[in-house]
């Protein structure tokens, strides 16, 4: 049964990937896209350029973002034992934004993709580290608060408030910045899968892959944490160490992605629920790869929709993920109780 689901998801992934590369302001037939990918000599050069320099990196970024955000959301939902937890909900992406903003502030510039590009490889690492540290800071604050608060809803509200404080700090700084810089920053907050190319793509892929590996290796710890800290401890888990590991990989995943693509919402909270509903399990050894698959497919579809096929306009990716993700969140809260779990 699971094999069929995986096959269906994989073929959806291939189709979505090809469509994502094919569709856009310049339409390239799918057949030609495949040719560009495998026998690049036989196709006209402008198409090769568009595919290799723009669309392929963008589709690969969509895959990386889909995997990374979904798995970080899954880890947070298990860690906080809260079905509504996610990197954007609990202010983790806000923390990452703060990290990015701080680097840009000290560099005398602002957190736009253009400036990131100008910084080169060491600059890319600097941004990723700052962003991950910002994410980790908020994670640590919320983890320490949540251990003394038993009520999930309160933890959620505290998380949202901490996110607001973080965003306010960024706003204050924005207030004193020039209008052009504010526009750049606003563009960044809309989120974008484009513009991550070459070395940056390689760095992002490396960081997210590392995060995913850590996450998969801690799937047993995550399983134990499903029953809460006390049970986890009684089964021999060193809870503090496990938390540290999970906070680390979540921060790296959410932080790294936010640094380059902006704060992308709703994927982190919605995909884990879809994966659980689809594979009907709570085993993280299955859920983590499942989240990667579902997240990738969903992110590619969001990107296809964002390009408004047939038009010259491209919508911000955040608008589309919110349109897709919000109904899922409503479904979790108000829908059939099956999905209320985590």
């Amino acid at each position: 049964m699971n094999k069929i689901k995986i096959l269906v998801l994989l073929s959806l992934l291939v189709i979505a990937f090809l469509l994502d590369v094919a569709l856009g302001s310049v339409h390239i037939p799918v057949k030609e896209v495949i040719k560009v990918l495998f026998t690049p000599d036989s196709v006209n050069e402008s198409w090769i350029y568009i595919v290799e320099k723009i669309r392929l990196p963008k589709a690969l970024t969509a895959i990386i973002v889909g995997c990374g955000l979904s798995v970080s959301g899954l880890q947070m939902q298990t860690l906080f034992r809260n079905p509504l937890a996610g990197p954007s909900v609990l202010g983790i992406t806000a923390g990452a934004s703060l990290g990015v903003a701080l680097v840009m502030l000290s560099a005398g510039s602002i957190a736009s993709l253009y400036t990131i590009k100008e910084l080169g490889i060491s600059g890319s690492w600097l941004i990723i580290i700052a962003s991950s540290l910002g994410a980790a800071l908020i994670m640590v604050i919320i983890v320490s608060i949540s251990s003394s608060l038993k009520d999930n809803v309160i933890v959620l509200i505290v998380g949202v408030m901490i996110g607001n404080i973080t965003l306010s700090i960024i706003s204050i700084w924005q207030y004193f910045s020039s209008p052009e810089l504010i526009k750049d920053y606003l563009m960044w907050t809309f989120g974008s899968l484009g513009g991550v190319t070459g070395n940056q793509l390689l760095i992002l892929a490396t960081v997210v892959f590392a995060g995913l590996v850590i996450s998969f290796l801690s799937s047993k710890l995550l399983d134990a944490l499903l029953l809460g800290d006390n049970y986890a401890r009684s089964m021999g888990l060193t809870v503090q160490r496990a938390r540290l590991l999970i906070v680390l990989s979540t921060s790296v995943l959410a932080g790294g992605i936010t640094a380059f693509c902006g704060p992308i919402g709703f994927i982190g909270i919605a995909v884990p629920h879809l994966a659980r509903a689809l594979f009907n399990t709570s085993n993280h050894r299955i859920l983590i790869p499942a989240c990667c698959l579902v997240g990738t497919v969903l992110m590619l579809i969001c990107d296809i929709v964002a390009q408004l096929p047939g038009s010259q306009t491209v919508l911000p990716i955040n608008v589309i993920t919110a349109l897709v993700g919000s109904p899922v969140v409503i479904w979790i809260i108000a829908g059939p109780t099956k999905l209320r779990g985590f």
């Binding site: 034992r81 290796l217 799937s219 047993k220 399983d223 134990a224 499903l226 029953l227 809460g228 006390n230 049970y231 401890r233 009684s234 089964m235 021999g236 888990l237 060193t238 659980r276 009907n280 399990t281 709570s282 085993n283 050894r285 109780t337 099956k338 999905l339 209320r340 779990g341 985590f342």
Partner: protein, 335 residues
């Protein structure tokens, strides 16, 4: 009779809470407790007297304020969590209704201390899980999700998880809370049986006085002041510990009150002669350890209970053998 090594032994154990630099708040102690394999031990006491704290301390979830706890001769404070997990398994009052967790996955989490890095179950693990499922009679729930279970079913499943962890000691914190009467009796009976059949020690805290009196091999009776009386249920009734422990709650414990019965089919029959409380509780003790009481005096084993000025003594006859005891405990060790 060979001297049995206690599974769990505490020396001068004081329990309570540490908070910051303030001196620790002591709830109870010093306690010197022994716990043996194959016994069901019921921890009784009024609300707030520190039952949960004692269980949390003994199970290593919370630090002791003073004294030491030894598990199979090893100091608990020096064991790593992974080591403790192979000696003690827990059933807590924590809510575990994680909606998407199914019963089999939950029970298999009990193998956590034994499975490898990724938690893949070996054949051995699967066998242990199957044994736990059979022992707790939970096979019917396997395909179901946790949030579809009733409270009683959920407790059984949590017990199965603890059984799968395969530890010599299982600790349950108020397993009968939230359960209806039949489920409570069923669960207590199951625990009693498991202790006998698997030779595990099972320590539970409960408010079920009458049930505890029927199934417990040993009772730890805590009072609000932090005192703890340990002994046979019947002994504690006879020496007035029960009245003392529940005095503050305004509960009058009637030494002569009958309690409802759990039928344990007796293997051997025995007759008990005598009147008064001592004879009454002797009968209960004998029923508990598996005897069927016979009204006539034609049985092979006979017990005569005499009570002179409130002091009880026991005479045991089997064929030509006649033994006298001044403590019920001694009588039971012979049987």
């Amino acid at each position: 009779m060979a001297v049995k090594q206690p599974l769990l032994h505490t020396t001068g154990l004081t329990i309570g809470y540490r908070s910051g630099k303030n001196p620790a708040k002591v709830i109870a102690g010093p306690l010197n407790l022994d716990l043996y394999a194959g016994q069901l031990i019921c921890l009784l006491g009024p609300n707030g007297c520190g039952k949960s704290t004692l269980l949390r301390t003994v199970s290593g979830l919370q630090q002791a304020v003073g004294g030491s706890i030894e598990l199979e001769g090893k100091n608990l404070a020096k064991l790593k969590p992974a080591g403790i997990a192979r000696l003690i398994s827990l059933v807590l009052t924590d809510n575990v209704r994680s909606g998407n967790l199914d019963v089999y996955s939950l029970i298999s989490l009990g193998r956590y201390p034994y499975s490898g890095w990724l938690g893949i179950l070996s054949q051995q693990d699967k066998e242990a899980i199957d044994r736990a499922i059979t022992a707790t009679d939970t096979a019917a729930f396997l395909g179901r999700k946790l949030d579809s279970l009733s409270d009683g079913e959920c407790q059984k499943v949590m017990l199965a998880r603890a059984m799968a962890q395969d530890t010599p000691l299982i600790i349950l914190d108020e397993p009968t809370a939230h359960l209806d009467l039949p489920s409570r009796i069923q669960l207590m009976r199951l625990l009693h049986q498991l202790a006998k059949d698997t030779n595990k020690a099972i320590l539970i805290s409960t408010h079920e006085l009458d049930l505890a009196l029927q199934v417990a091999d040993q009772i730890w009776l805590m009072s609000s002041g932090g005192n703890l009386a340990a002994g046979l249920p019947e002994e504690l009734v006879l020496n007035g510990s029960f009245q003392q422990a529940f005095d503050k709650d305004g509960i009058d414990f009637d030494i002569n009150t009958g309690t409802f019965h759990i039928h344990t089919s007796g293997r051997k029959s025995i007759s008990v002669a005598g009147d008064g409380p001592a004879a009454f509780w002797t009968r209960k003790a004998l029923t508990r350890i598996g005897y069927a009481l016979s009204p006539g005096e034609d049985t092979e084993e006979q017990v005569l209970v005499t009570e002179i000025e409130g002091v009880a003594s026991w005479t045991y006859k089997k064929g030509d053998l006649t033994l006298s005891f001044d403590q019920l405990k001694e009588l039971l060790t012979v049987l």
